[in-house]
Symmetry: C2
Subunit: 134 residues, 2 copies
């Protein structure tokens, strides 16, 4: 299920940079996979009700997919922030993305809480686009 998460998060991020649907090629580039593999996965995600997929057009997150992606994005932002602000690591963006799908919510939730309590709060949660109109 962890690969699935990467696709969902990638989709989420791309959807917020330019309007959906997201083409296979675009997503493939972001995730560093072949377009063919990406198409295949998008089709799989559709059967799971997580995206709407239109051949030659691209994919759009369904409400259910967006839910999942939203949680992943929250984790991603938290991790990313932690890596940069606390561990002082740049270039850990990609790693944060990978990890968002792997770490259990209890960990990222607690991490976020801890950061907000002990650290500079502010743009932790709101640093990404948590939603935007259809």
């Amino acid at each position: 299920m962890t690969t699935e998460s990467e696709y969902l998060l990638g989709l989420y991020i791309v959807e917020h940079r330019s309007a959906p649907p997201v083409s296979s090629g675009r997503l493939a580039a972001v995730l560093d996979r072949s377009p063919a593999a990406t198409t295949e996965m998008l089709q799989r995600l559709e059967t799971r009700g997580l995206v709407d997929y239109e051949p030659y057009e691209g994919a759009t997150l369904t409400p259910s997919g967006r839910d999942r992606a939203d949680g992943l994005h929250r984790s991603y932002v938290t991790l990313s922030w932690f890596f940069r602000a606390v561990l002082d690591l740049d270039a850990a963006e990609r790693e944060a993305m990978r990890m968002a799908g792997i770490v259990s919510p209890s960990v990222t939730d607690r991490l976020a809480e801890t950061l907000l309590t002990n650290g500079d709060p502010r743009e932790v949660i709101e640093s990404g686009p948590p939603d935007r109109g259809e």
Copy 2:
């Protein structure tokens, strides 16, 4: 390569609880896999030079495998400590184990550094058995 890591770390931990070699069944129980899957993996690890494997006996980490496992164990201890002492999560042992094989060393290294600098240092690095005679 992440599954491989789990096996190496499991092997490392079991080797330090009772003397090697580690049987398939024992390792299977620790990693929550079927004995058959474990046997198969041990054979694969042998072809990669990471363990010595004796049928019906079990596996022993080679120097090269022990090197790898040692790094993983260091990460594991760091993560485990972080989860418990900073995030105040119990029962994250298993997650720490899983993550040790996934997080890049740069992250766990920096995490360890940061903990040692800012937190209660003490038994962070030395909390596990970092080595013991053959």
